[in-house]
Amino acid sequence: MSAPALDPVRTPSGEISAARARRGGKQARTTPARFDTALGWSDRPGPAWALRILLCAIALAIFAAPFLTIFSGAFSTNPSGSSLSFLPHDSTLLNVRVAGERGIWDYFSNSLVIAGGGLLLQLAVSVLAAYALARHRFRGQALILTLFMLTMMLPEEVIAIPLSLVLGHVPVVGLDLKGTVWGVILPLGAWGFSVMLLTEFMKDIPTEIEEAARLDGVGELRMLWQVVLPLCKPALGVAGVLGFIMIWDQYLLPLIAAKDPTDYTVTVALSILRTDPEVGSGVVLAGAVIALVPSLVVYLLLQRSLVTGIAAGATKG
């Protein structure tokens, strides 16, 4: 039996359903649709389809409906802090404007730079580390993985002051990272969660693919880049989304790494807004809405990698 090609082989039915999927899912499909998802939802109207719509509506009501109150509060004049409403009254963009006057867009761009740079660093570091942990065997492997997980176990507040001292004077090199974006990006580079996630998913890749590639004389980096990574797209998607959100939501770290208020990120700015007695709750809600958009956008963008199944035919089983 010859070594399988590097791209997974597609069976005919898999190919058809993939093509149909690309064209958008409303077309009635035959059998292949039932293999697209774990529960085998089908596209055709029927009791299962209706049940799914109902359950989706319930899920929306539970998870998304409460945010209508936040959106309506952000766009109302003087929303009450002690009662909820689903629709804005006296809808206005004033709150957004006031938030802008308080400099929220500058903080926003700080957050963008930090989250973008931080995510790149995090993914790069985690991919390299996971590759080593998942696809090689060496002494101390379990220990290293535990070490990475250990970084997540001590609460932030305990590390805050020592970290602030480290940022002010990095050991050995003696640099002062305060007031720079690196002061926030570097500490976030080694995130135990993404290492753990990528390791777990990389472990799952069958060794046959790797062996086949090695027989072709593929080196380590090329192996990682062309063979292993494409098969980890879902994991990369998750690590990307959750990593972005984790960095975006950082509060303590930007606070201790900042040298003056212009270094703050949007999360810090939000908490300042909340303690400002002159600013109404509408402005705070507007700030919150502005702050959640990028994470949502990243999630939207990376969703494809989360659900595009590895088409049938990869040499599993």
Binding site: T11, G14, K26, F35, A38, L39, C56, A59, F63, A64, P66, F67, T69, S83, L84, V125, S126, L128, A129, A132, L133, F138, F148, M149, L150, T151, M153, L154, P155, E157, V158, I161, P162, L163, L186, P187, G189, A190, V195, E200, R214, G217, P234, A235, V238, I245, D249, L270, L292, S295, L296, Y299, L300, Q303, L306, V307, G309, I310, A312, K316
Partner: protein, 302 residues
């Protein structure tokens, strides 16, 4: 015909290129972790043996902080809440996340939109979410939750106002906030399931439930492992949900280990004590994570 393999003897052990390679790949991560995580962590743990007085100079007190924390009746009372809340929230979020992933899997655009909407609890600032739930939990009968319950004919519940219901109310919010997070991880796991297996199962006439049990779940193992490990690491550390919703009240009924430690550190200025409390939590979490891992490995071997 096999490919050429190395010719030189490998007795030199550690320093061969092949053995060094993984370490080269690990180097950036380990370096960053060392400087920005382990060094501060070490200092934080070190401080737990001192009475921390930044200006006057720390005073060595040995295990004094630990005895104080472990014999403090408020910390002891918080243990029960921490366990209940931590386990309840973690498991609840996993189960709900699992169902959400199963429900919303698929490539249709409408599903994409629903998945994005359902993800809102994760992307919104926690403080804002906390205020939202405080309002939803308004104890009178026109509070949002109470109105909804009223539709079903159930009486108004005091939620956060009553020590007996406050913990459960917090747990519900915690599950609500974390379930979509788990959903995302599990969706990625579902995406990795080989579709031909589903086809094969159908051809064998396997029922849906059996297919779920014998095909989907085993293939979900890595994703479930991650979600469980995360739960072990973060579960006992529960803090933010309680802090934004009740602050530990009423009457300490939602007080958890970390809210106690926070009060100790920042309201009472006892940083040594707060560090000691955090180290205790670290040890328990480590133990829990190692245990979860151990059982998982045993499961894998089978």
């Amino acid at each position: 015909m096999t490919a050429t393999v190395t010719t030189a003897p490998r007795r030199r052990g550690v320093l061969t290129r092949k053995a060094l390679l993984p370490w080269v790949f690990l180097a950036p991560g380990l370096l960053l972790a060392l400087v920005f995580k382990f060094v501060p962590m070490g200092k934080g743990i070190w401080l737990s043996f001192f009475e921390v007085r930044p200006f006057l100079g720390d005073k060595w007190v040995g295990l004094d902080n630990y005895t104080r924390v472990l014999t403090d009746h408020r910390f002891q009372e918080a243990i029960g809440n921490t366990l209940l809340l931590g386990i309840g929230m973690s498991l609840g979020a996993i189960v709900v996340g699992f169902f959400l992933a199963l429900l919303l899997e698929g490539q249709a655009r409408s599903l994409k939109i629903v998945r994005t909407a359902v993800f809102l609890p994760v992307v919104t600032a926690t403080a804002v979410v906390g205020e939202l739930w405080r309002l939803m939990y308004y104890p009178t009968s026109d509070g949002l939750m109470n109105s909804a319950l009223g539709f079903l004919g159930l009486g108004p519940v005091p939620f956060l106002d009553n020590p007996d219901t406050a913990l459960w109310a917090t747990m519900v919010m915690g599950i609500w906030m974390t379930a979509p997070y788990n959903m995302v991880i599990l969706l990625a796991g579902l995406a990795g399931v080989d579709r031909t297996l589903y086809e094969a199962a159908a051809m064998d006439g396997v029922s849906l439930r059996q297919r779920l049990r014998y095909v989907t779940l085993p293939a979900l193992r890595p994703a479930l492992a991650i979600v469980l490990t995360l739960a072990a690491i973060r579960g006992l550390r529960v803090f933010t949900e309680v802090y934004v919703l009740t602050g530990g009240g009423p009457a300490g009924s939602t007080e958890v280990w970390m809210t106690r430690a926070y009060t100790l550190g920042f309201t009472r200025n006892d940083i040594g004590g707060a560090s000691a409390a955090s180290v205790v939590l670290l040890c328990v979490t480590l133990l829990l994570t190692v245990t979860v891992n151990y059982f998982r490995k045993r499961g894998d071997v089978r």
